[in-house]
């Protein structure tokens, strides 16, 4: 990346939170609070069929009996679930067919985010399913995709247009009984993305969704369902930005990936929710359940760059059910100021000859706490399965914390499981080496950090790699200890 020291300096000075603006669009909000009536309201607003409502209500009943988990290594004030509005949608005037019909205000927001739809359409070959406050308002490249039989639409559309697929797969990977936040999501999810890749199709472009919390005081409950049918391939990008807000906002998403036999899914995330200010005030609570299931000889690869959110609680997992299936997890998690992250993965080996790789790089700065929590479970029948985990932590100041909590459960003697972790700060000799060659301290650190995270950043698709690298540098602004 060719951008100079001076530019970085300027950027660091001006940078509190780039994407902290609020779009002034009339929006329709559900009353504050959560009860069965609200769920019925959400469901009716979205013209959902009866089975969907039944599913929501069932999840709600389960949720009511659950208590919020507190095993994670994070401290925060528990959100008041009765003080959140569970539905906000930009007012829909009519069905939109072309961009001209889209609210110009909204178009400007997209431009500020750097994802101008026109440009995207013409140049990059990325289909953007733009989600703003829970309802998709613009979907591009749909026609091109539909020629190949690929379905890429908002979740509510899918519920109405492809109920058989949704019914068949929804809740099979993350059941509504799974955990507190997934139950909540199942009850009140507003919208999300749905994607289906038919048999033998290799998706020609990277599918991408921009999530964005916009309306103040609105919890966002996204739901993503991605199905890759036999021998298909898809690469999916998820990126997040959120406007600057003082009160804590809750984000409890559920992502389900289904890779059928010989299919491959690559799921990449750049998460840059509002992390709160330098004093630890505000910020987004990010409690996400992400999980994929692998069929015979299939592969799921999670790549994530986590720089935002006040509290992160996220474990993208793979259930390696089919024989010879492969699970991968590459993660860079950066925490600064008062951010807290408890993130990692679960690799559950069920099938024979399954393989998994975990590379997790944590960087903590300021007064933040960064934890890796991962499970590798080798089931009784997972013969000859193989796991390699590496979790490194980098500490930037003497007030932050880096923690590693790996769980290794092995029930098969033919499996080979390796785990290693290191925790250290940036080597003074490395720093000295760079500075001796005339590189400023700030730049040297960003060089070293980028090198440290390279293994993971390399796994990102081009579109994200550049952004992620820049994000890393910016997130660590002024954190040199």
């Amino acid at each position: 990346m060719s951008y100079t020291e001076k530019e970085l300096k300027e950027e660091l000075n001006n940078k509190s939170y780039e994407f902290g603006f609020v779009t002034d669009i009339e929006s329709e909000k559900a009353p504050i609070g959560l009860n069965e009536d609200i769920i019925k309201l959400i469901s009716s607003k979205k013209n959902e069929p009866q089975w969907m409502l039944a599913y929501r209500l069932e999840a709600f009943r389960v949720w009511q009996k659950m208590s919020e988990p507190n095993w994670a290594h994070v401290k925060y004030t528990k959100p008041d679930f009765q003080n959140i509005s569970y539905y906000a949608a930009p007012k829909k005037k009519k069905e939109l067919k072309s961009l001209d019909e889209v609210d110009p205000e909204l178009l400007r927001t997209m431009e500020k985010l750097g994802i101008s739809i026109e440009e995207q359409k013409k140049l990059s070959g990325v289909a953007v399913d733009f989600v703003m406050d829970s309802v998709s308002v613009a979907t591009s490249f749909k026609e091109k995709l539909s020629e190949l039989g690929i379905i890429f639409c908002s979740f509510s559309e899918a519920v109405n247009n492809h109920p058989d697929l949704v019914k068949k797969y929804m809740g099979t990977v993350v059941p509504h009984t799974d955990n507190y936040y997934s139950a909540l999501n199942s009850a009140v999810f507003s919208d999300g993305s749905f994607c289906y890749i038919p048999k033998g199709v290799r998706c020609p472009m990277e599918l991408s969704t921009y999530f964005r919390i916009n309306e103040s005081g609105t919890g966002q409950f996204e739901r993503t369902l991605l199905i890759a049918d036999e021998s298909s391939y898809v690469s999916y990008l998820e990126g997040c930005t959120a406007p600057q807000r003082d009160e804590n906002q809750l984000h409890a998403a559920v992502v389900e990936l289904i890779a059928l036999d010989k299919a491959e899914i690559k799921y990449s995330t750049v998460q840059n929710w509002y992390p709160g200010d330098a004093k630890g005030k505000g910020g987004v609570y990010n409690f996400v359940t992400k999980r994929g299931i692998c069929g015979y000889r299939s592969k799921i690869s999670w790549t994530q760059v986590e720089t935002g959110s006040a509290v992160t609680w996220k474990y993208p997992s793979c259930i390696l059910k089919g024989d010879h299936s492969i699970g991968e997890f590459y993660s860079v998690a950066v925490t600064n100021n008062f951010q807290q992250a408890d993130t990692g993965t679960k690799m559950i080996h069920i099938g024979k000859n399954t393989k998994s790789t975990i590379i997790s790089k944590g960087i903590s700065a300021g007064k933040s706490q960064n934890s890796y929590r991962g499970l590798v479970k080798i089931g009784k029948g997972a013969k000859n399965s193989r796991n390699f985990s590496q979790c490194d932590s980098l500490l930037m100041t003497d007030q932050c914390g880096a923690h590693t909590f790996p769980y290794i459960e092995c029930e098969n003697p033919t499996a080979t499981v390796e785990h290693e972790a290191t925790t250290s700060k940036i080597g003074e000799d490395q720093l000295f080496y760079c500075m001796q060659r005339g590189i400023s301290e700030e730049k040297a650190i960003s060089l070293i950090v980028n090198g440290y995270a390279k293994e993971v950043l390399n796994k990102l698709p081009m579109e994200f790699a550049v952004e992620a690298q820049k994000l890393l540098e910016i997130s660590l602004e002024g954190s040199v200890g």
Binding site: L395, T416, V417, A421
Partner: protein, 403 residues
């Protein structure tokens, strides 16, 4: 405080059966609790314990341990057995027992309270206090033997070791269950205090047969002290070791090593917590698991580096070998670090023996059994070697390999 609550003891005399879950000692640990996630306490709950203290063992030789010389302290079924012990008068050593007056009242409130600590304090059957005066180097190891020889007997014992400045000691602990007893339970607690520049090595050997053994170890280290503990777990229905090592002074050395070899559905649990409160210390952990015949092994190591404890070097290692389809291992090496200038790492591996190495040995006419034994030996030798007494080493190896 629990200790003063003598009602439990009187209650016990009237009604000698103990139902662990019915005792009012705080909540009985559940599988949902992180620390007790893997321990199958249901086996323990089923048993109705008593603590009538009979001495059954006539001679230490009958337990199959090598000849022990020097100072020997023997507890049997939770009481000091003077006929088996060999109390020689050593200068510079102070030795006290529960009956010697006020030592119960002197004991500190436990820093870590859980059900089994409470049980231990409330139903304390014997306590041994060993004090080493300053500037003494005791070369001969001191032996502490804790035997269970009666069915369903519960033994709540404590061993306090205080080592004063610049002294050095080596202790061998044997936790044994006689082969004809079953469902006995030794709930033991070691409390170690190491003053500055002192040094202690503990070799702990557990061979409980059909009995249970839980050990809580609390170690407090002052500056420049050295603590080494080698735990060898050979048999027992459930063995559980909880080590809490608090390093409170600079330039300390802490080392925890272990070999656990469960067979036949036995469950061996190893939990360690090393707390680095101050800077410039080193800690090492090395645990080896050899698991076969439906055995279950657990390693849960935790290193906590507190804020301002800079320049800590901590290393955790856990290697496990699974020898058959039904055996299981749960490994959880944890690092919790709040200081930046540290070098902390851990490694954990699980697998089986190299087929090629096995083939190499067999092609030279060595039987499968013998080959596996040789390879196990090679695997655990790294830890066994920490002991420099060849007779002791040989005995431990023999029991761990179960031949």
């Amino acid at each position: 405080m629990i200790i003063k609550d003598l009602n439990h003891n009187s209650l016990l005399k009237e009604n000698s059966k103990l139902d662990l879950e019915a005792l009012n000692l705080g909540s009985f640990p559940k599988r949902k609790e992180e620390r007790w996630k893997y321990t199958p306490l249901r086996f323990l709950k089923k048993i109705n314990f008593h603590n009538q203290f009979n001495f059954k063992i006539e001679h230490l030789n009958s337990l199959g341990i090598p000849k022990i010389e020097g100072l020997v302290i023997v507890l049997e079924n939770g009481k000091f057995n003077s006929s088996l012990s060999n109390i020689i008068d050593l200068m510079d050593i102070e030795l006290l027992f529960l009956n010697d007056g006020d030592i119960v009242n002197n004991s500190q409130e436990p820093s870590h309270k859980d059900y089994f600590t409470n049980l231990n304090f409330s139903f304390l059957t014997e306590k041994v206090v060993l004090k080493i005066k300053p500037n003494v180097n005791i070369n001969e190891p001191i032996n502490f033997v804790n035997i269970i020889s009666d069915d369903n007997c519960i033994s709540n014992t404590q061993f306090n070791i205080d080592i004063y400045e610049n002294s050095k000691l080596h202790i061998r602990q044997y936790f044994l269950g006689s082969s004809n007893s079953k469902d006995g339970f030794i709930n033991h607690r070691n409390q170690v205090s190491l003053k500055s520049q002192s040094s202690l090595t503990v070799d702990k050997f557990q061979d409980l047969n059909q009995n249970f053994n839980f050990c809580n170890e609390f170690i407090d280290q002052e500056q420049e002290s050295k603590f080494i503990m080698n735990t060898f777990s050979a048999s027992g229905i459930i063995l559980r070791n909880d080590v809490f090592n608090n390093v409170n002074g600079k330039n300390c050395h802490s080392e925890l090593n272990g070999v656990f070899a469960p067979i036949e559905k036995q469950h061996f649990d190893n939990h360690t917590t090393i707390n680095h409160f101050v800077a410039d210390c080193k800690s090492f952990e090395n645990y080896k698991g050899v698991i076969k015949e439906s055995g279950v092994g657990v390693f849960n190591g935790k290193v906590i580096v507190h804020q301002d404890a800079q320049k800590i070097e901590a290393f955790q290692k856990n290697n496990n070998i699974l020898l058959d389809d039904e055996s299981k291992i749960y490994s959880k090496p944890e690092l919790e670090i709040y200081a930046d200038d540290v070098r902390c790492s851990h490694g954990s591996t699980t697998g089986r023996f190299d087929e090629e190495a096995l083939f190499y040995l067999r092609s030279r006419g060595i039987s499968v059994k013998k080959s596996l034994e040789l390879m196990t030996l090679g695997f655990i030798n790294e830890v066994i070697e920490k002991s420099n007494d060849s007779a002791y080493k040989e005995f431990v190896l023999k029991r761990l390999l179960k031949d």
